[in-house]
Amino acid sequence: MAGASVAQLVRASQQGDRDAFGQLYERFAAYVHAILLARLPPQEAPDLVQDIFLSAFQRLRSLREPAAFAGWIAAIARNRAIDFFRHPAMAVSDDSADPPAETVAPDVRLDAARALQAIRELPDAYRETLVLRLVEGLTGPEIAALTGLTPDSVRVNLHRGFKLLRERLGIAT
């Protein structure tokens, strides 16, 4: 189903097409990861992404409007992030943990952790957009297409959020 729309992939998945759901995963995994990364310790996010998609696969029949998949999966991810902090055993995770050591150069490790923490302290509207751009590597138009936001909104969120981020980190313009 290469080139299929999100709605087509959702409908096929609802009929049990596992390959179609695999394509949904490939398209939306970064979005879900960004939502989690904007709220949780980074080492917790990857496993939660898998859990969220597995849960979504089992609940997909409850999604009545296939085209609304992006908002639906995003809501699941945000709720899961909230649940993370409600669960005492999970919430003790070290929030300042470094990014995976084997893939991050020592000279940037501290900066990345600080910067990510700074992003998580930004207003909601900026956090996910900045993570999608700076962490997941998506462009503004790609973010707009993925999230359903208008390109103008994404552009405003990106520039204002980035300005605030620099200010929080004390990075001069």
Binding site: G16, R18, F21, G22, Y25, E26, A29, A30, H33, A34, L37, P42, A45, P46, V49, Q50, F53, L54, F57, P99, P100, T103, V104, V108, D111, A112, A115, L116, R133, L134, V135, E136, G137, T139, G140, P141, R155, L158, H159, F162, K163, R166, L169, I171, A172, T173
Partner: protein, 339 residues
């Protein structure tokens, strides 16, 4: 991190990575790059689809239903079978006690005023013989069983396809159509029939009459069986109908006719039409005219109902809301004793 950057909306590198590389953005990209989620490196491990157990219930249900059908058909076939000439079983209760016995072909059962008998009609049903009755078993067999009732009363319950039981009387024959009925023959040889379920046919050399459940009729040897009369019809209506039917030729029946027209109900349409089909001219016209006011003829019949011929009357009768005479299976409850 590099500190040089642009913070206005013209930063196209921040927007879509076009134009001149913004060093500050590039610094963040390098720092965050290892955190990016790459689905290809983390394939989603969907749980294997559940292996559903084979759906056996439909097969079991079908097999059970088939077994039930085959068993029921076998039982029904067995129920109809009876070796030709084989005697019936019966239980006779007399003043001196009860005894079981058989009623052989050619044998007569004569009961005194204090005795009764319960006779198994092969496997098709039962016959309750009332005190003072005289019954003779004439033939038995899978296709037909024949009796003769010379006097007294019997109550017969049969659940089987039509025309398995024939009862001869001095007035004519009674033929079951899958039913429960009571038949009495008096000393003059008159047969009186009351039907509880199904239909019963009365016939003699003069004609025939089909009697439905809830109705009665009378048969004498000198005339056609009388028309069926529902037992819940008014006594005046019943008296008028019987007097009308049994009048001597050319007698003035205007009073009876008037009573029939006055007291007939919608349920008495069968009686009215069966009377009318046996009459002619003005009497038939009068009966039909009144019948049309109780239950109009079907649309397939046109013209003045008072002028209908016999064929039209039979068609009208066929349109009445009565159970089909040969739908014997509808009286399935007759298979159980106590009816």
């Amino acid at each position: 991190m590099t500190t040089s950057t642009r913070d206005d909306d013209s930063n196209s590198y921040l927007w879509d990575r076009s134009g001149e590389v913004d060093p500050a953005v590039a610094d963040f990209e390098r720092a965050f790059g290892p955190l990016a989620y790459r689905p290809a490196e983390r394939p989603l491990a969907l749980p294997a689809p559940p292996v559903l157990p084979p759906r056996r219930w439909p097969i079991i249900t079908a097999l059970a239903a088939g077994l039930v059908l085959v068993t029921a058909a076998s039982l029904f076939y067995w129920r109809l079978q009876w070796p030709a000439g084989q005697a019936w079983r019966m239980a006779v209760a007399t003043e001196s006690g009860a005894r079981t016995d058989t009623l052989a072909v050619g044998q007569s059962l004569k009961l005194d005023a204090n005795s009764t008998a319960s006779v198994d009609i092969a496997r098709l049903g039962t016959m309750s013989v009332q005190p003072g009755a005289e019954v003779t078993l004439r033939t038995t067999g899978s296709r037909r069983h024949q009796l003769r009732l010379d006097r007294g009363a019997v109550h017969i319950r049969v659940w089987a396809p039509p025309q398995r039981i024939f009862v001869a009387t001095p007035a004519g024959n009674i033929i079951d159509l899958g039913c429960t009925f009571t038949l009495a023959v008096d000393d003059s040889g008159t047969a009186r029939l009351t039907v509880q379920t199904g239909w019963v046919q009365m016939e003699n050399v003069h004609g025939e009459s089909l009697v439905p459940a809830g109705a009665s009729s009378v048969m004498t040897a000198d005339r056609s069986p009388l028309v069926p009369l529902y037992d819940d019809a008014s006594p005046e209506f019943q008296r008028a109908v019987r007097a009308f039917e049994t009048r001597v030729a050319d007698a003035n029946v205007s009073a009876e006719l008037a009573a029939i027209r006055r007291d007939a109900r919608g349920r008495d349409m069968l009686t009215l039409l069966m009377l009318a089909v046996r009459e002619r001219d003005t009497v038939r016209a009068s009966l039909l005219e009144h019948a049309a006011t109780l239950s109009p003829p079907p649309r397939t019949l046109s013209g003045n109902p008072a002028a209908f011929d016999s064929n039209a009357i039979w068609e009208w009768r066929g349109s009445l809301p009565l159970p089909p005479p040969k739908a014997w299976w509808r009286n399935w409850a007759d298979v159980f004793p106590g009816r």
